[in-house]
């Protein structure tokens, strides 16, 4: 049922006459809330890319791989923040290699990110305990790239474009489930 007063020629009169604390939303309520929404967005804007990061996270969640935890061996100040936030904070020094360790139950994956030609990134990884692993590199809007580890659990992606990514690791023999890293910023 529509109890909203029709916008009238005499807007001031309608706006004030219709202002009833127990009443339904009137046109001015709507205008105030619309203006408030703009102000809220201006004062504390949603971070750029949060929607894309969320969409990517949803896609990864749909794979139903168990999430690994990031452990910061070389960046203790990263504290309780997530991997994505920690990686963002490191953006200021992209020329340096960076190591992140991920753990899940008995599996530990350590990756080192280092600069590669053309502003791209090289990923060297090592998984323990050593086993044959299929490692998938997931990125938003890009086809999945897969590589296999050697018998020592070492793997590499030579040249990857910068941006958000997640690794999904499965045992080649099919034992255990898939595990994925949190989203990292390459």
């Amino acid at each position: 049922m529509d109890l909203t007063p029709e916008p009238n020629q005499d807007d001031e009169a309608v706006g004030h006459l219709s202002f009833d604390p127990k009443g339904v939303l009137d046109a001015e309520d709507g205008a105030v809330l619309t203006r408030l929404a703009r102000a809220v967005g201006a004062v504390d804007p949603v971070p750029e890319g949060l929607v894309e990061r969320s969409l990517f996270a949803i896609t990864l969640a749909g794979l139903e791989a168990d999430m690994m935890e990031a452990v910061y061996l070389d960046a203790p100040l990263a504290g309780v923040r997530g991997a994505a936030a920690a990686a963002r904070a490191d953006d200021a020094a992209p020329a340096e290699a960076k190591t992140i360790t991920f753990t899940h139950d008995s599996l530990t994956v350590m990756i080192t990110l280092s600069p590669s030609a053309g502003g791209r990134v090289r990923i060297d990884g090592w998984a323990a305990p050593a086993a044959g692993l299929d490692v998938e590199l997931h990125r938003p809007g890009v086809d999945v790239v897969t590589t296999a580890s050697d018998e020592d659990g070492r793997f590499a992606f030579d040249s990857v474009e910068r941006g958000r990514a997640s690794l999904v690791v499965r045992r080649t023999d099919g034992g255990g489930g898939a595990v994925s890293t949190p989203i990292i910023e390459l």
């Binding site: 809330l33 949060l50 963002r88």
Partner: protein, 210 residues
């Protein structure tokens, strides 16, 4: 006056509200169609962002909390009993995760307060509250009047109205319920917080808000 209808896109009941679209997105997702959920993420992320930020979570942590809220929705897609309540579910989940983030941050700070130069006289500041919202970015005079008027309301009213403004108006009740504020007077779709704000605004002078 032009713009009045634009300001009230859904009050006439003919349009779907954010709450409706959230319910549809979940139903579609369960059926294997992920498009509607993607649209919902685009539309409702600002609402989740400000829900989390209102709990006193810093921007980096809030970024992670919003993402994990969406992930939780996908993980629980099959077990959410009432698709109609999915908007409320999202808000409650985001809020709980935000509290958890604040708690973790406090524990972290507590460990750091053992440093020698911390004393009870100089306690570590806890990021329990947002930094004061910076009204400087608001250039329009009416925006500033609105913002300063909002600050005169009780804290929970401020939170409610900030969030309600980001959803569709009929979703007022989902949002009130999600942040633990019942709607108040029966039959009122406006609620007391908005009524209070309008009273304060009216005291500021004879502005037209439409």
């Amino acid at each position: 006056m032009t713009g009045s209808r634009e300001a009230l896109p859904d009050v006439d009941g003919s349009g779907l509200t954010l709450g409706d679209r959230a319910a549809i997105a979940l139903t579609e997702y369960r059926a294997g169609n992920h498009q509607a959920l993607g649209d919902l993420v685009r539309e409702a992320t600002p609402l989740l962002w400000h829900t989390v930020r209102a709990q006193g979570v810093d921007r980096d942590a809030a970024d992670d909390v919003v993402q994990s809220t969406w992930v939780a929705l996908v993980r629980h897609a099959e077990s959410i009993a009432e698709p109609k309540a999915v908007l409320k579910w999202l808000l409650v989940t985001a809020k709980r995760a935000a509290w958890e983030a604040v708690r973790k941050h406090r524990d972290d700070e507590k460990r750091r307060t053992e440093l020698p130069d911390d004393s009870p006289e100089h306690p570590m500041a806890l990021p329990a509250n947002d930094p004061p919202p910076d009204a400087e970015v608001l250039r329009d005079e009416r925006d500033r009047i609105l913002w300063t008027s909002l600050q005169k309301l009780p804290g929970r009213c401020q939170e409610l109205l900030r969030l309600v403004s980001l959803a569709d108006r009929p979703d007022y009740r989902y949002i009130s319920a999600a942040i633990g504020m019942p709607m108040g007077s029966i039959g009122s779709t406006r609620g007391r917080c908005l009524a209070k704000l309008r009273t304060i605004l009216d005291e500021q002078g004879d502005f037209s808000w439409t």
